[in-house]
Structures are given as C-alpha cells and as structure tokens.
Amino acid sequence: MSSEQRRSPNPSRVDPYLEHYAARTRGMVASEIRALFAVAARPEVVSLAGGMPYISALPLDAVGEMAGQLVADRGAVALQYGSGQGDPGLREGICDVMSLEGVRAHPDEVVVTVGSQQALDLITRIFVDPGDVVLAEGPSYVGALGTFASYEADVVHVPMDDHGLIPEALASALAQLAAAGRRAKFLYTCPSFHNPAGVTLDGPRRQAVLDICQRAGLPVIEDNPYGLLGFAGEPPRALRADDPRVIYLGTFSKTIAPGLRVGWAVAPAGVRDKLVLAAESAVLCHSSFAQLLVREYLATQPWREQVKVFRELYRERRDAMLGALRASMPAGCRWTEPGGGFYVWLGLPAGVDAKAMLPRAIAARVAYVPGTGFYADGTGADHLRLSYCFPEPDRIREGVRRLSSVISAELELRSTFGPAQ
C-alpha cells in the first residue's frame, strides 16, 4: 500500500485529550475483570466479591429521623462549609470509639476525612514522591495499592502468614532496601482482620513490628477498618495504643455506613498539620452534614450495641462460609479462618489461576476477587478473596458450592491441558 493511500482523512482515537494526560494514567484502561464484575451485580449471581457492609441491619428509621431533625434544627450549620480538620464534636466522639481499641488520643490529633480512603490518599500525598518505596503486606488492600500507584510509589510486599505480617520478613525487606541504598517511606499495614487475608497480627508480633519500625525510623500507617468487628472477646489492641507515633486510619464505613463517607486519621502534630493542609487543598472541607449526622448518631444511638449486632451477623456469615468451604472445597484448597472482619483468603490447588477462572465462575453465577488485585506486581493468581459480609448465610453456602464446582472443573481443565505456559 502506498503512503498516499495510507493517509487517513480523519483518524480518530475517540479521546481528543489523549496527548494531554499525565504519564501516571497509563494503567487506567478498561479491564475484562471489571466487565465481569458488572455481571456480579445481578441478583442471579452470588457475589462473594465486594466488601459491602450489611446496611439493612442498621436502625434506618432512626437514622432517617436524625437526618431530618438535623436539617430542621441545625441546617444552617449542617449544610454550610466546615473546617479542614473536621467537626470538633465528632473528633471527640471518634476518640471515644478508638478507646475501645486501647487508643488514647486527643481530638486535636484527629483529622476527619472522606472515608479512610481519603486519609490514605492524603498520607501518600504528603509522604511519597514518584519512585519512593512503600512497604505493605503481601497481599494488601486493593484500594491502598491503587492510591500508591496513583502517586507512582514502588510497593514492596512483605509476606504474611496465619499470624499476620512476619516480623523477620519485614526486617529482611528493610535490610535489602538498605543494601540497595533505598529507604522506605512508610509501612502500610492492616493488623486486625486483614483485608484480604482475614488474619490478625498476633500480640507478640505487634510489638516486634513496632520495634523494627522504630529502630528503622520507619513511620507505620495502621489501617484499622475492621478492628471493632471481632467475633470473640475484646477488640484487638491497636498498634497506635502502644506507640503514639503510629498514624492510625479509621472509618465509620463498617460500624455505621459507608455511604456517609466519614473516616479519619490520627497522627502526631507535624503530620496532622500537613494532613489538614492537604485535605483543604483536596476538598476544602468534608461534608458537614455527614459529620454532624455521625456525631448525633454517636451521641444518641446505642452504637456499641449496634456494633455487637453487626459482629453477631458477620460471625454467623463467617461460620456459614467456613462450614461450606470445609464441606465442599476440593483437595488442594486452603483458606484462612478470620476471627473478625469480612474476608476469607482462599489458596487454590497448584496450577489453578484465580484470574483465568473468573469468567467460568461468573458463568456459574458466583463471583470473587482474584488474588492478583492485592499485589502491586500482579502476582497472587493462586489465591482469591471471598467476602461473607453481604449475602445471607444460605446464599453464601450456595455460592461456595458453586465455586467448588468451578474449581473442580478448572482442575479438570488443567489436567487436560497441563500447566499454563
């Protein structure tokens, strides 16, 4: 074909701003996995994928009345701009909530954020330059990895086992970085009822992790969305309870409702000041209405009892999932047994790829999240995350039964074609 013939009168790449995007948008492309999750939203599919809290268990009538009353009585404040640090009364309430995990904090140390996801974003914004190293458990929360990627961080995963982050592995990762002349900016960890692994950092390891980070001068970011949702005994003691230098991220998304988008960070004064400035530049202030609603909820509703209701509900669902897994999973599968939170981390038989298997699972009307989403480098295909927080127990059992059939079929397919190249 001649060059003349190849000249196009009007080539289109659909997006007129293609040449203007920042380099960091390179990975922002349509994905088959996301497309499959669109199917998971249909009621025929048992979705064990999303970590949606079971909001129907909330006293919605009472929340509705409070919302109406708030506008009627204090609308001029609730619908007005607020401060970048957040409502002082709410910050006091947040300190009460954290006291259940042993955290003694002053309201001045608290910065209210748009869910803890924004706290994570602000933390990354103030600490991380492109190419900086962030340490995170392997696997790690997918939303955190997305934030780290958007700031072009280099995530180094630290292995975990059934007792959480392995301190020796953390020390080894730090030593390797030092040997390479690099230094991590912080450790991001979810020590209690981990997302996605479902495990909890045990007591002795908590101190060991804090000691290692203290020696290395490494800030610790403790993400603790599920800390109050343990199924037995008292909530695990937060890392922040034993070390005031720890930067703690909390949220009402699991104990009240994610639609309110109220989270927070607790940080030492220097960090707090930067977080407030960063928050103001990001959103000016957070929703005054949502903050005052949460403040009112904490002041007038039996929220501790409500948390117990959620715990019992999620415990029943966790039991349904573990029972179904024991009853039906093919040999070679292994899974964590969470003591709280929303998730089970399921290891697949050798050679089975959770990402490749997803379309078959969707066709069988069950959804999960492939493990690859929880590693910055795309590894983790030998695991998948199951969440039990939203479906009713019978649906969970049905979902696990379907999943076991899919894994069995996958094993047969693998035996037919041999291991993937």
């Binding site: 013939q5 790449r13 293609l18 088959e32 199917v39 025929e44 379309p359 066709a363 037919t416 074609f417």
Partner: protein, 316 residues
C-alpha cells in the same frame, strides 16, 4: 415527542459483555430521546416479561451483546410476546452468533474466511489435548487466533505465535465458552463494516479501519478511549474498500440478517477475509458502527428511530 409511541431499549443481560451492553444501551437510549422518542431502558431479567405485559412497547431495540442478546434467545422471547424488534430473527441470529456456522455460510456464499477448526472442550479431555493440538498446528500452521465459538468483545481470544502458547490460549478460551474456534491468523488491516437496511435493501456503511496502538484489538483496546486509532473510511484503495463493503453485504444477506449488522474483516494484501458478524453491534463511544453512521452522514438517534419504525410496521 415522536409518533412512534413508547419503545424499549434492551441492555445488560448476564453474559460477560454486560458492561459493554449497558453502555451501548445507554447511548442508544440517549440518542433516541434526543430525537423525541419516548424510550426506556430495560434489562433482560425476571422483571422483563411483566414489564412488557404491563406496558407493551411499540417496538424493542435489542442492545444486548453476547449470549442471550445475539444467540437469538431474547428475540425468540420477544416473538413469543408478539413485540416487534429491531434486527435479525432468532433463527438468523443463532446462525450468525455461532462463528463456525457463520463462516460456513459465508464460505458457501463465496467469501474467503481463514482456515479453521472448531473443537469442543470434551474433545481435548477425551482424546488428549497435546495430540489434538499437534494436529491442529500441523493442519493450520502458525500463528493462530483462538476464540470462543460464541461470544464477542475479544473476551477469551488469544493471538498464538508458538505451539507452546496454545494450551494456555485454549484454557483462556474455555473460560468463556465450551467450544473453541482455532483460526489461521491472517496478518493485515482490521476492518469493521456496518450494514444498514432502512427498507430499501442492505447497504454498507463506510468501512472503519481499526488500528490498536501498541497491541492487539483486545478488550482494553476496544473499550478504552485512545487505545485504538480508527480511520473512517479505512485507508484502503478504492477497489478494496468496495470489496470490503460487498463482503459485508453478502454476509448479511447470506445469513438472512435484517435491519443492521456489523461484519469484521481482515484485508490482507489484495484479499478480503470474513471473520465474523454481529447482529447486535456495539454502540458505545468506542464502537465502530456509530462511527460509520456518522461518516455516512447519518444520526444515531434518527437511524435507530427509523429502524424501530420499520420493526413496528413489520410487526415482528
């Protein structure tokens, strides 16, 4: 408001192409409303029959891709409900959706199509995968293109360069269906040709050349704006453009399709190869059929309204 009455755009469904279909449906819905049509969007779910019974639409525009939308089943149900719909009949859709069948029909109509074999999953299980794949490579050579016999949006499709890549490609394919179509890979210019029949016989729309930037025309390149460069009309000599157009019209007619379709072709040297045909073409911002309509000077909303009018007048 248009005199057409109330119409329904069907989108969603339960196939892996649900997300794409929802985008197509929303776009058709907006386009119809822009030209004054009283249109609503509905999913193909348990509420659909009740919805149609309660307020029978003048006609339905199916924008459901993949199984259910393109395999004829939803059209069969619409026929049972005596609701007119845009597009091909259930029987014709079944033939078109099954790629091996469509290739046979196209070949019988004199069109060139890449050599291929069609194999269900059980065959590999029963006869042994390596022995079967060895014969496949011996027959078709390399490189190959593996795709589900039924399905779209390049889901489960892999371009295979070496025999060693073939088992993984087969497993990927069987994620989206139980039968695989293994085709000779024909290098060349990828072209999509829409066919439209507004009552005066099928005519080809300007062929759209698809040029993925830095990769193959996979799911990400199809549905991420900017990942693919489109040229309308395709950068082909006039005679090849005309042959691409006639190939699409021939496929449309040979398969007994009606109203609209989109045929995917490869132009390699002086040859035009038929790959597959779609009876519910994508209507998203990155889909080729709406681009072709624009290039032909046709408005998406006006065209869809005309197709609904034709369906309503036809009565099925």
């Amino acid at each position: 408001m248009s005199d057409l009455g109330h119409v329904l755009v069907l989108a969603g469904g339960l196939s892996a192409e649900r997300a794409v279909s929802l985008r197509s449906g929303e776009r058709v819905l907006d386009a119809l409303r822009d030209v004054g049509v009283d249109a609503d969007l509905a999913d193909a779910d348990a509420a659909l029959i009740q919805l149609i019974d309660a307020d029978p639409p003048t006609a339905v525009f199916p924008a459901i891709h993949g199984a259910c939308g393109e395999d004829g089943s939803i059209r069969e149900v619409l026929a049972l409900l005596a609701v007119p719909y845009v597009g091909s009949t259930a029987a014709a859709s079944r033939s078109a959706f099954d790629k091996p069948t469509a290739k046979s029909v196209a070949a019988a109509a004199g069109l060139r199509t890449p050599a291929s074999v069609t194999l269900p999953r059980e065959t590999f299980h029963d006869l042994g995968a390596s022995a079967v794949l060895e014969r496949v490579v011996a027959r078709l050579g390399l490189p190959l293109f593996v795709k589900p016999a039924r399905g779209g949006s390049a889901l489960g499709a892999t371009h295979v360069q070496t025999a060693g890549e073939l088992p993984a490609a087969m497993m990927t394919c069987f994620g989206y269906g139980d039968t695989a179509l293994v085709e000779q890979f024909i290098p060349g210019t990828e072209v999509a040709v829409g066919v439209l029949d507004l009552g005066d016989g099928p005519r080809a729309l300007p062929p759209v050349e698809i040029h993925p930037v830095g990769g193959s025309y996979d799911y990400a390149h199809r549905y991420t704006a900017g990942q693919t460069e489109f040229h309308v009309p395709a950068r082909l000599p006039a005679d090849l453009l005309a042959r691409a157009e006639s190939t699409a019209v021939t496929a449309h007619q040979a398969l007994g399709l009606r109203d609209l379709s989109r045929t995917d072709l490869i132009v390699s040297g002086r040859e035009v190869f038929f790959l597959e045909v779609n009876v519910a073409p994508g209507m998203t911002e990155t889909s080729t059929l709406p681009m072709a309509l624009t290039a032909a000077g046709l408005d998406l909303g006006v065209t869809c309204r005309e197709l609904l009018r034709i369906a309503a007048a036809r009565g099925d």
